[in-house]
Each structure stands twice: as C-alpha cells, then as structure tokens.
Amino acid sequence: MKKKYLLLIVVLLLSSFVLGACQQATEEPVEETEEPVVEETEESMEPEYLWTTNLREAIAAAIDREVIVDRVFEGRNVPAYHMVPVGYPYATQPFFDKYGTRDLDMAISLLEAEGYTADNPFVFDLWFPPEHYGTTTADVMQVIKEQLEETGLIVVNLNSMNWAEYVDGFVAGDLPFFMLGWFPDFADPENWLSPFASCLQSPDNGVNYCNEEMDSLLQSAAASADPAERESLYQQIGELYAEEVPTIPLFWEPEFVSYRTGVEGVVVGPPFEFNYDVLSFGDDADPASGNTDTIIIGTTDEVNSLDASDAYATHDWEIIKNTGAALLSYTPGTSELIPGAAAAMPEVSDDGLTYTFTLRDNLAFADGTPVSAQNYVDSWNRLNTLEGQVSGLIQLYVESVEAVDDLTVAYHLKDTFGFFPALSATAPFVVTNPATFVEDEIVQFPDVLDGIGPYRMVSHSVGEQMVLEANPEYFGEAPLIPNVIIRYFADPTTMSNAVESGEIDVAWRTLGPVEAVRLQEVDGVTVDTVDAPALRYMVFNHTYEVQE
C-alpha cells in the first residue's frame, strides 16, 4: 500500500516537472532562425530597416489611448500624449496635436502609401513582458493589436517572454516592436526625452534612434538655463517627436497611497517624493503603534542599497532623502525647486559649465560630525571611483567637484546642462557620512544612517522593518512625528488588509488598483491617487532589419 502512495508522489512530481517544462517551452521566443542569412548580406549591401517614418506614424495614428485606458483600467490611468508628463516643466501634448485621440484614416493612407493592401498586409511581431508591468499588460497589448488590425492593412503577432529574457532580447536588438516602462531619475524633460531620442542614449533602451535635428535640439534644450528658450525648444522637440515617432507614449500609471483617518500631511506631488517629516496625527487619529510619536508606513518595495553613491531604486532614494538632504529639494507636493542642504540656489558660471553651491552653515551629520564642502568632494570621489549602480547617471554630466572653501562647493560639468539644478535634487547628491560609508567600499546595508536629513535610521531588519528617529542635528524644522517605522510586506493584498485592520497607518507603494478600489469602500481609510510619472510606452527598434 505504501508503495502505491510513494509511486503516486513520484508520478505527481514528474508530471509537475513536465508541466513546468512545457510552460517554459511555450514562453520561448518562436523566432531567431533567420538571422544568419541577414548577417551574410549585411556586408555587401546597405541594411534595409523595417520601420519607415510612414509606418511609425501610421501606428501612432491607429492607437487610441482613451480606449485602452477605459477598457483595461476603467479610466484610472492617464492617456499619455507625450513622453513628458503633464504637470512637469515644459510638458506639451504633441501626439494629441498631430493625431488627435486617434486618426484611423491617416493610418490607412500612410500604410497604403507604403504599398500595403488587404491581401498584402504589413505583418510584424509585437513583444511584451507578461508580468513585469502587471498582469494588465497582456490586455493592453490585445487592445493595441485590435486597434492596429482595424486598419485592415496590419497583422500583429503578439509574443511575450519573461522579463530576464526580454531585457536581453531588446538590448541585443532582437525585438522589432515592444513595450516598456519608464520612471524618471530627475524631474526634467531631458530625462523623458534624451534616453529615447538621442543618438547617444537611445541604444540603451533598445530604441537605436538617431536623428541629427533631434539631437541638436535636445542638446540645445538641455544646455540652456533660460526658461523661455527651453520652453520654445521643448515645444519644437515635441512636434518633431510626434512626426518622427521614436517611441509611442501610451499612458501614465498612477500610484495609490492609503492611510487611516487622522493621518495628515500625506502629500506626494509631481517629483514623486514622499516626505515623512510633514506627516502628523490629527485629534481623531488612532495610531497603529498606539501612540502619536510613532507612525507605521507599509510598503511592498525592497531595499536594494542605502548607499547614496550606489542606490538606484525608488524606495532606496526615498529612504536616502528622508534621512538625508540633497543640495536642492522640492516644496512638498510641487515641482518647485528650493534650497536643500545648500543655503541658496546655485550660481551658474558665465560659460554654464560650473554650478556653485553655498552650503548651510549649520550642517552636521546625525552623529554630530560637522559637514563641510570637502564632504561633498569626498562623496563625489566615492561615487566616481566605486562604480556603483547609479554612477553612470551622474558621470554622464559631472566632470569634477571642487571645495572652493569650507562652505562652498563647485560642480564642474562635462557640458552645459540647464537641468543640473533638478539633477542636484536627487539622492546621489545627498552627502554620505564617512563614518559609515567608507572610502573604498560600497555599503549597501549600513547598520545606521546618520545623514543630514530630518530622520536618522537606527535599525533595519531586512525584509521586515526599518526604524527611523528624528535627527537631532537636522538643520530644518524637526519632524512632526519623531519616529517612523517602515514595514516591509511581500504582497499588496496583505498590506491593504493591514491598513484596514489598523496594523499600519499608511499603505504606500505599491498598492495595486484592485486593493485601492476595495479600500475606497472601507470606513476609516482614505485612498489618494498619486499622479506618478511612471510611463508605459511602445518602442520601435529603429535598426531592426527587414526579415526575408
């Protein structure tokens, strides 16, 4: 009898292996067989690229974002008519201006001009990752397929593969047309445009787009520090973008923040910064911790690195900026730049290559060590030599850093970058405490964070919780709630139950739409929609060659 059961177990295990293998097999890309042929001919003749301007415009014209947002997201997401989000500096809506919400006739005539007919339709592969951007991705792709095929001149083959493979695929240039997401590094249009449309940066995102006119406009706009000039340049860039269609913006994915009655000061504005120091408890509050000195914030994010010279993830930056202060900062809830660790806005040299910051004279790390300009030079040297994850972003722009005197630090740039103030408000511009962040090593999981911000981190148990306390040395006003505990959840549903049951006060990233809608019905819990700058967009691989 027991043999029978053992046999049964073995059979079950084997069948699960086979099932797993089958599933893996179905996720495999179907193609990749024809490449050698193309390579042979490559040397003898000019490569013929698949995506002509007409085809890109036709696809841009055929997509209806309003329908996608309504059908898949019940109107929660915001249609994107440009790569730069509304509410941020110099945002325009060029795709709306050129194509309206949709222009099917334009799409059809463009396709006909390319010689496609109902009998000889334009056939291509559309790729997407099935899980990385949520399970709704497949629905979005299905709607796009339907919309494109409505022209009667297009046949779309939908394909998906898991994220790890997908990234390899598009970086290697194997995918002709695919979907991606973008979250900005700093709040300036430069960071929503150059990564996709500049000759230098677009290959990293699999776009491989290069156009001289676009490049020179992007460079001029990035170089200028004059708001009026930048506005006009970004207007032109927008128009050219809609004509050239390096990528197609689809929609902005909102985030949700949910908090219990009595929690006040939950403001997440355009630069997507959540400042813990302005949170407070009202009279009607019933804090999860049982006292008004401590607030508990839940998240499903994970800590990757708390070293400002290395960290390159949203949650890490949030912790670094709440326990530190970048040179510049934002008025909470707005994209208005204000002095942070610097006493005033920077002075720009006549050639636009040097930004000089005067530091506040009362800066000190939470352990009492005073901060001088030399600390900023040391922080830069660490970032530059240790080659952490974020170093590439900063090295793209900064040439060197110099301590002019104790309280004056000068950033020499590689070129004129008018957006440098926005960059200097990011986490890599938070000065690191040499007591923790030693010169020759990246310290991703420090025991404590004694920075210069409103809070200091006193303990961190990975995957469980992090404890922050008010920093006695902070130069600004003391936080309204002296203690913050970040609770790490594995699952958004559990986190939403936790805010409902009062185990946490605030449920922050990433509360999915399903949980947000459910929590809206719960008494004693408020749900706010946060306009996050998280873009979903379609990418044309501009150097994808016509396959025979």
């Binding site: 508990i296 991703q444 469980e464 699952d491 185990e503």
Partner: protein, 340 residues
Amino acid sequence: MSSSLRRFLITRILLTIPMVLILVTMIFFIMRVLPGDPIRSQLGPRVSEEQADALRERLGLNRPLYIQYFDFLWDMVTLDFGTALTQGERPIRDELGERLPATIELTIPAIAITALIGILSGAFAAKNRKKPIDYSIRLLSIAIYSIPIFFMGLIFQIIFAVRIPILPLSGRMDTLLLTQFESITNFYVIDAILTGNWPALRSALTHLIMPSITLGLALTGVFVRLTRVNMIEMLQSDFITAGRARGIPERRLVYKHALRNTFIPILTLLGLQFAILLAGAVLTETTFSWPGVGRYLVDRIELRDYTAVQATIGVFALFVALISLLMDIIYALIDPRIRY
C-alpha cells in the same frame, strides 16, 4: 548504537555528498543556461552596456565558467556561499542566517499541525469506517487539500485579523516590540525565551498561529487518507483480532497498537512532506509577509541571482538529506524489525 547502524549512518552521510554535489552542479549550469542575467534582470535598460559590463566584472560574472564553478564549490565546502548578485550584494550567509530560521520556525509547527490533525482524524475515520463521520472527514480533507494555500491564508486573515481582530495579520512579531527586540539566533521564539522577553514571546507565538495553521492544514489531506487506509488494513490484521478476543478496550487497540504499526508509511511521507513544506512555504510566506527563505528563493530565481539560488538550493538539499537520515534512524527506533 550498534556497529551496523553506525556503518549505515556513515554510508548515508557519505552518500549525501555526491547527492548534494550533483544537485548544486545541475543548478549551477541550469541557472546559467537560462536566458537573462542578474544585471539586466535587476536594472533593466537603466545602465548602459559598458556599465553593465563593469558591474559584471565587479561581480566576477565575466570569469571563465569553470573558474566560477570551482569557486562556487569551494564556497559551498567552506559554507561561505559568497555574496548575492542582486538586491544589495549581501553575504548569502547573512541572508540565509536571517531567513532560514524564519522558515524553519514556520514549518516545524506546521508539520506538527499536519501530523497531529492528519493522523488523528485519519485514525478516527478508520475506526468509524463507513459511518457518516468517516465520510465527513474524508470529504473535508479533500476540500481543504483543494483550496489554494494563499487563498486559505487570505480568508483566515480577513476573518481573524480584519473582521474579528483576535490575531495579528502578518509579520513575525509586533512592530513596536520588534524595534526593541534583541535577536540572537533569528528564531524569534527561542530568542524571546533566551532573553526572557515574555511580551515578545507571546507576540511571536501569536504571529505563528495563522501562518502555521494555514501551511499545516494544506497538507493534512494526504495524511488523513494515508493513515485511514493503513489503519483499516491494520485493524483487520490478526493481532488486532487477537487483542479484541482478549478483551483489550477498542480505544486502546486503535490508538495504541494499530496506530503505532501504521507509523512507518506515515513517517516516510512526513519526511518527504517536510521537503515539500519548505518549498510550499513560499505562498504562506508571501501571504503573511513572513521573511523566510521560500519567498527569497523565488525572488532570486526571477532576478537570475546565480549565487543566491545555488546556495539556497544547496542548503535545502542538505536539509532534506538530514531529515531523511533522521527518518531512517527513527524507523529503526520504532520498528524493531528494521535492522541496518
């Protein structure tokens, strides 16, 4: 310990070495054959190809494969495991040191619940064969077995933590208590006892109730059926009939004599299930935000974190080998007929 048992044990322990070696070698190569790499999986297109190469160089991923393989074997032998490649490049020994105790602390009560409920109700059903209670137990065991584990967890959460808040919803300990808690072994229950921190002990135990019941219940179905079938067979055997003829009370016959003799197949399954439990804990760990090793493993496979996956599976393998060894020893102890 008899010399034959000692010889058996030594052979078994020695056999564990090639077993674990084959497994980790397979994992080493399978992980690398899979498309995708740790740099791109984590950072996507946010780093340029040159920077990705620099990161690969720093992490030692551009070294020849055989060198990586022998380094990895050496790391396993020295129980060093190296550092993870993603999510902060921490030493894997630290990561497992934090997470493995959490999983073990969850699986031990879970297996106890499985065994207790499964075996007792199986025996009870066998005793009342073909009576309504027998049918009810069998039906219920199949029903519970069919419910997805995370769904059962969610239902428990909604009932016992949200609607009737008598149990904590998630995590291993109350948030505020945890800020002051001194963890020595990362087994919170043990740590609380060692430090004499009674509120923490209470909190750790109450936090264990829902996840361990969820995980434990999910597997009871198999035990109910296995015990029942073996018991029915046992209850028809000659020595039970002889016992009945001698007037030994039925309860004693069932729960002492018959049940004891069905323990061999049950123990075999218990050993096997423990391995499944370790892996199955991932769903429970996710639902209850339990910072264990199951969840860790799945995350790291997604991220193609070669070193973390290799080390975790290696440790799992050692663990399972240890459990099955333990089972073999217990066989010999409970059944005098088994000789090694």
